[in-house]
Amino acid sequence: MAMQNRPLSPHLQVYRPQITSVLSILHRITGVWLAVGSLLLVYWIIAAAVGPEPFATAQSLIGSFVGRLLLFGWTFALFFHLANGIRHLFWDMGRGFELKTVSVTGWTVVLAALLLTLIAWALGYWQLELL
């Protein structure tokens, strides 16, 4: 077949992970994960509307160890998707396609997401202290 000598698309099993490909799939994963997280926000708002008891239940669920763990994951997912989304918007304007730039902005996104997550949680715990 004439098709056989044509270049193949990368096979994920043998293709070395790179900052570009890893962040690309991470953008999707965090996007889907955030969509799941929207359920928690909706639940929290509805619990506040329904009454003190459902709201107290929601707060204790969120405040539990598993709740905090999930919330931490959602915080990172949100900041990552937000920062990488801004990176995507610059690509949409035709900027930042050079290999070096792509790598630098990629690592910047990872660092920014980690830093913002930690800042948000530090402020959150500081807020809890004030209560």
Binding site: V50, L89, L131
Partner: protein, 131 residues
């Protein structure tokens, strides 16, 4: 070579509607439009949630029911679920290849996003204007 025109329709009538509907970029554009709107909205959301970490129901109702929070939260929900739907739609279209499953998933996702946004909006209206 001209075909014998036995068709009762005119040449123009035959080609009409076969070209671009000029809506090819609508999905892409809406995804970007909602993305840009979500940048400030999500920063506000995280800041607001952090500032109200561990709050009791009375505090939550006071916060969610205030005009600014009420308006911005409605925007977060509307724009957020719109953006989520557009993103999830692409994920389904990329990975689900069984036509019936794909179509069903797309319909369910659309209904789910609208239902969730509406449910949270009703709760917000109840908090802001209910007894």
């Amino acid at each position: 070579m001209a075909r014998a025109n036995t068709d009762l329709r005119s040449e123009l009538g035959r080609v009409r509607g076969l070209g671009s509907a000029k809506e090819g970029v609508q999905h892409w554009w809406h995804q970007r439009l909602t993305a840009v709107a979500l940048v400030p909205l999500l920063i506000w959301l995280v800041a607001g949630l952090v500032a109200h970490a561990g709050i009791d129901r009375a505090g939550a109702v006071a916060w969610l029911g205030s005009p600014v929070t009420f308006g911005l939260m409605l925007l977060v929900l509307g724009v957020g679920f719109w953006h989520a739907l557009l993103g999830l739609q692409v994920v389904v279209e990329d990975y689900v290849h069984h036509e019936a499953v794909k179509l069903t998933s797309l319909i369910v996702l659309r209904f789910l996003c609208i239902a969730l946004a509406l449910a949270a909006a009703i709760a917000l209206f109840d908090i802001a204007f209910g007894g």
